[in-house]
Symmetry: C2
Subunit: 314 residues, 2 copies
């Protein structure tokens, strides 16, 4: 068990980690650092922290583990600001949705400052379109995946500290290179968010009005923080360019199928119908394998070993 | 109140309408017509019908209102099969997700047969990705929209009968030309379904695995019945060709923005970032107006009069 856990940033995810850490008694004391008096009051009242402060240097002092739960664009700056206040051996992690830029920036900072501390990047694959600590209780960490992104520079003991911490919250940890993380998440998270925003913009005011639960659920992510997502997209622009182009091309191909399909009664229409049926049937099969029908809606990451590159713990 | 309501087809939607009709006492008797003994047993046990039969001609006899709740490709055939068994003045409606082909086919059938019955097309804007009467309880009709699609041939009294029926289930009825319905629903329902299937196919096995609640929710509709959706797409292929092309073009434009954005530090990247931020912010605003944050997740169709073409009842 950790002695002193410090969470820097008391928003949706910082709050969720604090709540889970206290629920699972992952640390003797959970200290939160917020940037506004109201936020640290809320964090205390919700039980997301044992104590909280506005002074980041005070908060991180003597911590075994510091979690940077600030917006992704600010992570390196906050890391830089606290490096001098950390005691020897403190382990640092983050919750950023992109990993390569963050991880390499902090590795570089630590090497340059010769700081006696260790960093391991983390990304818990869960969340909500909502923002703010008041929605932290809606984020489910238990049973979700958490990806750790060590580099050549990563200390083995520090990796184990971070891995053990996430496991103590009942998360399923997986290890990935930062660059692979960014490529995988471009598809599984950053593209879906973009689609939610784009699907709203594909509506007319009349079609928005005459919509049911389908459109509501598919555009849920368009309620996400726009600044945060602009930053994620900026940091992962290379991967997004590839993934969005590929997706756009598949949509162009589907548009052509519909043009062929619309020539009712022609052999071309019959063939297009057959291909469309096959496309939908293949997608349905892959969908049902990953998200079995009739299961409850809570996130259930599929970490079956058969197609997971399981790396033994260090 | 109706005397005898007959629902032909005891699947997800037929079952949901039966349950709601009985809950709201919309008819003295609700008769269901199923195609398998197990289905009609289930319908009786669930309380979706007062009585049920495998014989469609027997079921529709003496009905005031017959609801065709069969898959959309079968609606005209079933209408044709029962026309001779309906008593004078019976009102016929359906639940099809496309309206122009269905409505014009049935109008034509009735005119040709000189049958003394009346048809009005309906489409309740609600549902589930699930199939089968066993999931009927999950479909919420109350407070959802129901679009009615009268034509030149539609009888005023029959329109009122169908309109009153849906209102008795606490649905919000709206009137639209069949062609407008198909154009509007191509955007608000048929495109989102296609996106769910396509988003699954945009995943690798690794990205499918490392996904959170976002991907799960955005691909929920890919669990829908493939045959049914192939039929809907076939019937609405013209509108889909337009809407999917437009959406694909917007995705191509976004892919180009990401390519520009990836040139970090250039003025082109800054400009792309600014445009992307604006795109997301506009989408978020439209999203939050239609689906206000913090509201419960139940479908809440937005039928504010300000941008609705409200047509007085006949």
């Amino acid at each position: 068990m950790l002695h002193r856990l410090c969470i820097v940033g008391l928003g949706l995810m910082g709050g969720a980690v604090g709540l889970a850490a206290r629920r699972h008694r992952a640390a003797t004391r959970v200290i939160g650092v917020g940037d506004q008096p109201e936020t640290i009051d809320k964090a205390r009242r919700m039980g997301a922290v044992d104590d909280a402060t506005l002074d980041v240097r005070e908060g991180v002092r003597d911590a075994d583990l510091v979690i940077l739960a600030v917006p992704v664009r600010l992570i390196p700056d906050v890391a830089k600001a606290i490096l001098g206040s950390l005691r020897q051996g403190t382990v640092l992690t983050d919750l950023g949705s992109t990993k390569a830029p963050v991880v390499h920036a902090i590795d570089h900072l630590i090497a340059q400052a010769k700081a006696p501390v260790h960093f391991v990047g983390s990304h818990p694959i869960t969340g909500s379109e909502k923002s703010g600590i008041e929605s932290a209780g809606e984020v489910q960490l238990e049973d979700a995946s958490c990806i750790l992104t060590p580099t050549q520079q990563t200390d083995h003991e520090a990796y184990r500290t971070v891995d053990d911490f996430w496991k103590s919250l009942q998360m399923k940890t997986q290890r990935m290179a930062p660059e692979e993380h960014d490529a995988v998440l471009a598809r599984s998270s950053h593209l879906p968010h973009l689609i939610s925003y784009a699907l709203i913009q594909a509506q007319t005011s009349r079609s928005l009005q005459f919509s049911g639960p389908g459109l509501r659920d598919l555009t849920r992510l368009a309620g996400s923080d726009v600044r945060l997502w602009t930053d994620i997209y900026t940091q992962n622009a290379n991967e997004m360019a590839k993934v969005v182009k590929e997706y756009a091309d598949s949509m162009q191909a589907l548009a052509q199928e519909f043009t062929a399909l619309a020539q009712a009664g022609t052999p071309g229409s019959e063939a297009a119908r057959e291909r469309l049926f096959r496309f939908l049937a293949d997608a349905r099969q892959r969908h049902d394998e990953r998200f079995p029908p009739g299961k409850p809606k809570a996130p259930e990451p599929d970490l079956r070993e058969k197609d997971t590159q399981v790396v033994p713990q260090q």
